[in-house]
């Protein structure tokens, strides 16, 4: 039975037997939703020895009490499963925006648990309480755009759909689940679904989310939109000076790129100038982001139709492009994306690219081609490692060591030299179809290292190609460069790139350091926030920030709200001294659920999820490597983080190279703050009991890895 916020029900779909059942989710509410639900269910039901592609493997698509409730930026869906490509094959998540998460809520579900394996290709159709497993044999083999189009045609335009592409079908580890607007769940979910012959999902709900205090919800909405929200990544000053704003981004490059003279130039009916967007004018928020200009500079405006986005989000960070030069190459001209696929296509052209129609538009057009191809194939990039490793392959001088001559000669290198967009499309196709040795790139960074015998030193090297933040197979995601030890710490915690934006949103906002420092110190105390490239030794207040950011990400992926926009740490309001409101998540949770959440109680629930992540990681490492020490075996930091920038010393003005002793001390302090054993980094029984995870403590004890 639905309560406020939650729908009270999860859907269980067994693809082997065809059984479709529902269960009450009340027992899971202390895990909030989304990621929390997923982790508890996976832990309960999937032995961590299970290979991710086995029939016994499961995945959980879950949303939270705030999803689809009308809370700003609440369109996310979390998908939990076991990793096929990172060290330990442990628990991790894909996350996707768009509209499909809210649709799941409106259909009446907090989560969908998918288990088993269908004998033939199918897709899952959910229409309120009418749930069916539909034949997908006519869609299998098609890209995500065509697959989504067919599912929509078959089910109805009121459905939201997401599909895997050829990458998922071919069990490429780097694979996604995609909507047709560029919303993608990554981390290998495509292949997990592919291993189950599950092509996609189509969801439509006619219900609604029950909100406990609608008036309060509206009041908080207005407050957030009027006083707190900035632009994308909650950047709180504009990229160029605007007359109402005291500050602007000196570099001109921050995520509040809308400005007078910058337009959606290809908007139907004529260009739409984004103008000024003063703080407090809630009807102009959508003009702030102009992501394409942030990504490429003003030349991008020539190709921008509009800014699109997710459910309940005023930010509109998905730039929708029409890139007519691509028609010359018989490639699709329309693409919509906000993230990695539309940023790194030019890495496939180490010798450079040539402009097409406008001066400086090479990057825009090449990335348009690569983004569409990558989304259509349902290929994932491991937060850029795919591109970096291809570029390294081309520039290392060692390509012939790894790619056989026959395959090398079959690659259309002339297209690369010519800056032809078909080159990146072809390379991605080969990876998605697992063709040749090049396809190793799609198996993951660890697979590349192992198959090409690269050795640990490859992850230690100081090079733009190497952004690996641990030895586990994934790169940093806003690490030390934004927040020194804080960023480095939370980047160690997961089994994929961390997706935490709490600190980068402040550090890169464009606001003066003293302004941001004052905001952060107001929340966390003196010394918690360093100036850019001028960091100081670790201290207790920085640890508070690290813990807040780490647990905070679990809040967002469980509640669910967007990890790029939240939290509202800063504000564009001078009257507020640019300070945001860190209680806002709990205020919304209270208004929607009717349960009296505080910031502390919500962070407590999130810390429960953080501990589940840690326990499951410890168990996985023990299973696969006999490890009893996550500090050494999971949280080890590659040498380049300490060895980069040889002209500088740690803590010297101008560098972000970290200090080894300081980082070890940071780990000590962080583990202590989290209630983990300092020597092993594994949660203690006392900590687990505190979070009602005694069963997990027993499990650790049985395996001999519970700290004494």
């Amino acid at each position: 039975m639905a309560v406020y916020g939650w729908m009270g029900k999860l859907l269980r779909v067994n693809l082997t037997t065809g059984a479709i059942t529902t269960e009450d989710t009340t027992q899971y509410q202390k895990y909030i939703g989304g990621m929390g639900f997923g982790y508890r269910i996976i832990y309960n039901e999937v032995p961590l020895e299970t290979h991710p592609y086995d029939e016994a493997s499961k995945f959980v698509m879950a949303v939270g009490p705030l999803t689809g409730s009308g809370v700003p930026c609440s369109g996310r869906m979390n998908i939990s499963f076991l990793s096929s490509w990172s060290k330990g094959n442990s628990i991790l998540d894909a996350h996707m925006g768009g509209h499909i998460g809210p649709q799941l809520k409106y259909a009446g579900y907090d989560a969908v648990v998918v288990e088993g394996k269908s004998p033939t290709p199918v897709y899952l159709k959910i229409e309120d309480d009418k749930v069916s497993i539909e034949d997908a044999s006519h869609i299998w083999g098609k890209g995500t755009f065509e697959s989504n189009r067919i599912m929509t045609l078959e089910c109805g335009r009121e459905f939201d759909t997401a599909a895997i592409g050829q990458a998922g079908e071919h069990l490429v580890n780097y694979s996604t689940l995609n909507t047709s607007f560029g919303n993608s769940g990554g981390a290998g979910i495509g292949a997990i679904m592919g291993s189950k012959n599950l092509k996609g999902v189509a969801i439509h709900g006619t219900g609604s989310v029950k909100v406990a205090d609608v008036a309060k919800l509206q009041e908080l909405n207005n407050y957030m939109l009027r006083d707190l929200i900035g632009a994308n990544n909650n950047h709180n000053v504009p990229a160029v000076p605007q007359s109402w704003a005291e500050y602007s981004s000196v570099s001109g490059k921050n995520r509040w790129s809308g400005a007078p003279g910058r337009a959606w130039e290809k908007a139907p009916g004529g260009p739409i100038d984004t103008g000024e967007q003063p703080c407090g004018d809630i009807n102009k928020i959508a003009y702030r982001c102009l992501k394409g200009v942030f990504d490429y500079g003003e030349v991008a405006a020539h190709y921008i139709v509009k800014q699109g986005g997710c459910s309940s989000c005023p930010i509109r960070c998905y730039t929708e492009y029409e890139m007519d030069p691509l028609a010359e190459y018989d490639l699709p001209v329309n693409t919509s994306n906000t993230c990695m696929p539309v940023l790194y296509g030019t890495d496939f052209y180490p010798d450079g690219v040539k402009d097409f129609k406008y001066e400086g538009d090479a990057r825009v057009v090449i990335n348009g081609a690569s983004s569409h191809a990558q989304d259509d194939l349902g290929l994932w990039c491991n937060y850029g490692n795919l591109y970096r490793e291809f570029k390294w392959l081309c520039t290392s001088g060692r390509i012939h060591e790894f790619i056989p001559d026959e395959e090398y000669n079959s690659i259309p290198w002339q297209w690369q030299k010519d800056g032809d967009p078909r080159f990146v499309v072809e390379i991605m196709r080969r990876i998605a179809y697992k063709e040749g040795e090049l396809a190793v790139l799609g198996e993951g960074t660890l697979a590349v290292m192992e198959k090409w015998n690269l050795g640990k030193e490859w992850m230690d090297m100081v090079s733009a190609s190497n952004q690996n933040v641990t030895y586990n197979g994934y790169p940093k995601h806003h690490g030390a460069e934004d927040s020194a030890q804080i960023g480095q710490l939370f980047n160690l915690m997961y089994n994929r790139d961390c997706m935490i934006h709490h600190l980068t949103n402040v550090a890169q906002s464009g606001a003066p350091y003293e302004v941001s420092k004052s905001v952060m110190e107001g929340f966390f105390g003196k010394g918690c926030f360093d100036a850019q490239k001028k960091y100081t030794p670790i201290n207790a207040n920085k640890i508070k920030v690290a813990k807040w950011a780490f647990n905070g990400k679990q809040i967002h992926d469980s509640a669910t709200v967007c990890n790029w926009m939240w939290p509202m740490t800063q504000s564009p309001s001078k009257e507020r001294n640019y300070a945001g409101d860190l209680d806002l998540e709990s205020k919304f949770m209270s208004a929607v659920t009717g349960i009296d959440y505080t910031r502390e109680s919500l962070e407590f629930d999130a810390e429960r999820i953080s501990n589940m992540l840690r326990v499951m990681t410890a168990i996985s490492f023990n299973i696969h490597f006999g490890s009893k020490n996550l500090r050494e075996d999971h949280d080890a930091i590659p040498a380049w983080i300490f060895d980069k920038e040889p002209d500088f010393q740690p803590f010297e003005e101008g560098t972000i190279k970290m200090d080894r002793d300081d980082m070890e001390k940071a780990k000590d302090m962080f583990y202590e703050a989290m209630g983990w054993d300092v020597k092993t980094g594994i949660p203690t029984r006392a900590t687990l009991e505190k979070f009602e995870l005694g069963d997990m403590a027993d499990d650790l004890a049985k395996r001999g890895i519970l700290p004494r």
Partner: protein, 244 residues
């Protein structure tokens, strides 16, 4: 599905009727051809039409009634208040207002300005001192820093503008300033203009603290010696590999 759920019956589809059969139902015309919407909604076609359903609901009290404001007689504005209104209007359009322009147009400008300063309702009107003039703006919709920038742009002394903003950016953010900063809104300087300004900066003693370097991506940056070290400025001008 981009724009939200379209519930059955939401769209009224009017068929282009044959004049001979207009006014007669499908039974009379000899065939009930389904519209595209009806086909789409299939077995939902039996549900009531939305607008009729809404109209059938009982009236309820509007929880958000519009405020009824009594019509007020427009207050007579004093000359000082009119002046303030004019400055506010221009500020709302991101424009500052030069004293010289006002003095030229308004005969009793000095006395009007004095009255404005005394008027409590005009406390939002502020001024910034340029090299050539004084500029007025309203703090209701323009920030002090933007007024400073607008005054610099108005005075068209690019060398002075560059020097002042480079020093300001080094002190405030603190960051070196890329040359592209001055190509953007609201400066809109061209590269030849910037190069000429750089020549002035290089030779005039009052700008000797303004230094230039090129980062590893070929972008030129300014910084102010004495406020920021060259080493730190260069480090800040090197951007991390872009990630989202």
């Amino acid at each position: 599905m981009l724009f939200g759920r379209r519930k059955p019956g939401f769209v009224q589809v009017e068929e282009q009727k044959d004049p001979e059969t207009a006014g007669r139902g499908p039974e009379e015309t000899g065939g009930a051809e389904e519209t595209e919407v009806q086909k789409e909604t299939g077995d939902r076609a039996g549900k009531p039409e939305l607008m009729s359903y809404l109209e059938s609901l009982p009236d309820v009290e509007d929880p958000f009634p519009a405020r009824e404001e009594a019509e007020e007689e427009p207050e007579e504005r004093t000359p000082a208040q009119e002046l303030a209104d004019y400055i506010r209007l221009r500020s709302a359009g991101a424009q500052i207002t030069a004293r010289s322009a006002l003095a030229k147009e308004i005969e009793d400008f000095d006395s009007r300005l004095e009255a404005l300063v005394q008027d409590e309702t005009c406390k939002d009107i502020a001024s910034t001192q340029g090299n050539k003039d004084v500029y007025y703006y309203s703090r209701l919709n323009m920030s002090d820093n933007y007024a400073m920038i607008a005054a610099l742009v108005e005075e068209k002394d690019l060398a002075r503008t560059i020097a002042k903003m480079v020093r300001f950016n080094c002190k405030t953010y603190p960051l070196p300033t890329p040359i592209t900063y001055f190509e953007r809104h609201p400066y809109y300087a061209s590269i030849p203009q910037i190069e000429r300004a750089l020549d002035v900066i290089a030779r005039e003693p009052e700008y000797e603290d303004i230094q230039v370097f090129t980062n590893s991506e070929g972008v030129r940056y300014f910084y102010a010696e004495g406020i920021m070290s060259r080493k730190y400025a260069r480090a800040l001008a090197e951007t991390e590999e872009f990630t989202d």
